[in-house]
């Protein structure tokens, strides 16, 4: 931590700040510049909890130097993580494709999806049993009934299964049926849910919040890992910007940024990012090329009748085509599907 003093500050103000730091058992490094004095704080800054230097006389600003996330930080864990789920691995040598409907609507819809995405080469089945919807009058999900279909689909096809949980109650239900929990964008800072996911024993896919910075996202992951669960996969799904031509703005740079900051795998959800079906293919290719560890894609037997997010869902035929088109890009990235 570095404390920057105002120009022409009194020596009393500087002494007051330095004394406060030293009283808390930390060391001070003073730099008297031409315009301003800078006070470097050396030591474990958690000892300073409850000391707000910004408010002290003569202080201009406080600049943090080290990140607040530790266990997910690449600086302290340089090797990339591999996350095992069922009989698959998500990590630097694989390209994992998760596919399925936005919402589970009924038994046959889900089983049909499972067979078809399996046939086309996906290794995960996605499907929502608890749907966070902007309006209370939209379809909210089949809940436990949907989870049972997920369990059946996973069993019969061999696909690993992932399902979003939107509350502790949903989480308690889901752990009985699925292989991986998903924390959605709207719950990225639902800290109670994050902690419970950390205690669940299941791997967790953590989507980026609608307007979360990458640092906030990694701090959210830190909530999960600090409960003892290192099996976390990050998922970029677009952020909110002023541009309305797409549903969200896919922040594809998040992939290389995460590579420099964390050892966790990161996949991309082009369906939610774009919100428009025809953009899923180019964005999927770009995701493979940029170095993502996989994709999450919405597929539906009849997108034009889907109860949720139809406009961004692929038909089975389109998904099969996509998987074929993707394969040379996956090969170029030296990954196995």
């Amino acid at each position: 931590m570095v404390i920057i003093m105002k120009p022409k500050v009194s020596s009393e103000a500087i002494e007051h700040v330095t004394r406060l730091i030293e009283e808390n058992g930390l060391q001070v490094h003073l730099s008297h510049g031409h315009e301003v004095t800078i006070i470097g704080v050396v030591g474990d800054k958690r000892k300073l909890k409850g000391t707000n230097f910004e408010l002290l006389d003569g202080v201009d600003k406080v600049v943090p130097i080290t990140e607040s996330y530790k266990l997910v930080n690449k600086k302290f864990h340089p090797e990339d993580s591999c996350i095992s789920v069922k009989n698959t691995v998500i990590g630097p040598e694989t390209f994992t494709v998760m596919a399925g409907p936005c919402a589970i609507e009924n038994h046959d819809q889900l089983l049909l999806c499972a067979e078809n995405v399996k046939k086309a080469g996906a290794t995960f089945l996605r499907g929502g049993a608890f749907k966070p919807r902007t309006s209370p009058y939209s379809f909210q999900g089949l809940e436990e009934e949907g989870l049972k279909y997920m369990e059946e689909a996973g069993r019969t096809t061999g696909l690993a299964t992932v399902c979003e949980v939107t509350s502790l109650r949903a989480l308690a239900m889901a752990v009985k049926y699925v292989d991986m929990l998903q924390i959605g964008a709207r719950n990225m800072q639902n800290f109670e849910l994050l902690k419970e996911a950390g205690r669940s024993g299941l791997p967790v896919m953590l989507k980026r919040g609608l307007a979360a910075t990458i640092d906030e996202w990694l701090n959210a992951a830190e909530y999960i890992i600090s409960e003892g669960n290192p099996n976390i996969v990050l998922c970029e799904r677009g952020i909110r910007t002023y541009e309305t031509a797409t549903r969200n703005t896919l922040d594809i740079s998040a992939v290389p940024v995460i590579r420099t900051k964390s050892h966790l795998p990161v996949i991309i959800d082009p369906s939610h990012a774009a919100g428009i079906r025809s953009f899923v293919e180019p964005l999927s290719k770009a995701s493979a090329a940029v170095g993502a560890d996989g994709l999450m894609i919405e597929v539906h037997p009849c997108p034009s009748c889907a109860l949720s997010d139809g406009p961004q869902s692929l038909t089975f035929e389109q998904f099969k085509q996509l998987m074929g088109d993707l394969s040379p890009y996956i090969a170029l990235a030296k990954r196995n599907i």
Copy 2:
């Protein structure tokens, strides 16, 4: 709902769309323009659930006409609402000031705050017992112990009390001790929590999400009201933008926008919006002038030692000064405190 067709679309495509609308029991109004054909849909569009017109052949885009929120919509409830909490009323004739510490740290801190904000003219005590914090290593709140102090402070001073709830568990605890629940920005789309708040019987203060549109915010309020609870106060607390000179960007225009869209009262939290103590006073005056129904302000006996959000908290002396400075603005707005 209006469906805009692509230029030079075939008459088959138009017929297909119109047939689908009519088969669902709705009416069609066709307008053949020079460049494009427009199809107006007349009737209750909820009958069309699961029909994604965007995906049909020849459709360019779909423009919704009516809002998805109904019970909080001013169009169907033109009179402004008054919300009663304990012995106070929040609404068009009052200017309600809620004040207190960001986090409840101990018994004496809270009781001291309560006395001082009461003396200065506040009618609500705020205080966090459950703290949503970006990092898992930051102070997370006293939970039930804090709620007990809130109950005591409310009893001894007569202040109404409001406390953020971050989970169903927190909510179940809080209803036993406080007068009003707060749903924070990070939980604005925690729909399970919204519904439970709707069933709680207590009035609810709903903060705007970090990057929520006003329409999404009103849809979140619709979740509460649709469970039978019309006692909702909205709270604007700044939105996320690219500007970093303030913690968030206070969207002060949200107050007149809400006035045109909803009958619910709306207050402003300048402390979280600015994140810097010295901006609280000018933003509070602006809030009174723009027509807000009140303020939520952070106050602490010793901001420089606060465990949470110290830099934006006022001292007792500063708060007293603020209340004095505000009173002519409140009088100009023809409101009582």
Copy 3:
């Protein structure tokens, strides 16, 4: 400037950085922390032009300490500036209202506006002769003809006049007819235009760019002042965000932020910020209450037939009403109109 090294960096890397700094005639202050080493740079950092420390081995990041704007910086010029234009002054003791049509459409429209805004209490006439329009097919302004009407209107009413200039050619024309130049949001970083405005001898109103940070805005002002022209008034007119309920998002906090960073006056343009006529009145009151030095407001004899920005323009009657409603707020702010 502070250079933060990566954890476990070699001592050679540290020496390389420090040697480079010292070779440029600056001093180094080293702080060896538990996790990282920090290198403080003392002296005039302009000597380091063309040395990109970010790229040197072992460097994690570079944190600037001092602002790049100097002449508009409050740190080096603590007293608030007063800008004289014709027979008026813009500064801490006045509240300046500039009003008039978005675009000058013809002689009578402008003269009628001038009389009416004068009668209602404005001291400046605004009016666009060069209109930057998103589409090339929209009305682009009367150019020199419009400027002549401005000159006549200023002469007959005694109002000071302000007109946007969008190019060097427009600027060269405008200096012959008006009292103050306006640089619009789209040209805030048209640096050639800024420099020419700095050499023009006329006071300049500099609008904030559509997505400019406050620091970029002050750097734009530095372009003008560094050419020898200190007569600059800043104008906040809303920034671009994801919210679409208003045309832009008025960043009202910019006023107190500017007060801490610069000595220049700052006014607010609620018409462009909101884009909707009915929001102009509440936002104008809020602007007076937050401490702005004035307002710029669009007025039109017949808003529903205006060639530009009609939806946000007030009628004469509405403007007169607004000025009456504002006067107690201006009095409270201890300012004269």
Copy 4:
């Protein structure tokens, strides 16, 4: 254009609106819905210039149906354009790489860059002679001297040359020396400059504004094409968002969005988007994969001593490596370099 009336509006209000439309020579289509009445306007809406329906009694909102850009609109020119510059073509069958220094610093730096980027496979030399810089105290470019070096470099290597112009003066100079003009992000809505570029006879590369929507960008291109110059290449260079981990947020989805809206080629500038050298390679691969028509990349003989944008510049060695790594992606996209 569709006009949506408020609920329970009087029939007089509806008649007033329809009469106004018909008096302007257009036709009306009325749809009386259950909640609201919708008025469709059929005909050339430019006849309605100066009629602001938003302000009429009973009108809720006005929804435009057709885009304001025409000549760059894919709807009216479905075939993708090919732009010829010197002996190269930019379009659907090629992948054009433009490379060179951010700023031209001296003769040898530019000539060295030209040789090296040519050797590595680029077909365009980029280099800034007029530098728009946030601070007036930063290096502003060599101007005509720099242009002469560009001319020489283009002549000796055979590379096509592109240079940003920031004013009419710069444009008048540049046309004498370079093969293609660049309009930078800060000048995307410098409409005078756009028109002059349209009249210049040279092909134009138009960068997206810092916070421009895709529609505003296409309208800016319409300014150029409506002066008779159809030789326009769009360049996505990142937009401003709240995320600070990269300099801007690369909106990679802009490529497929442009494909649906316009026939103009679109390239990507990953150097400015990321602002960090190590992200250029993954973003370049993603650009090829997403279907872009090329790249603009910053290269410098010694990035750590560059006078502008060093941190995002590649060395010659890194650029050569990048071109090698890119070639299978370009082949996959079925394009020639």
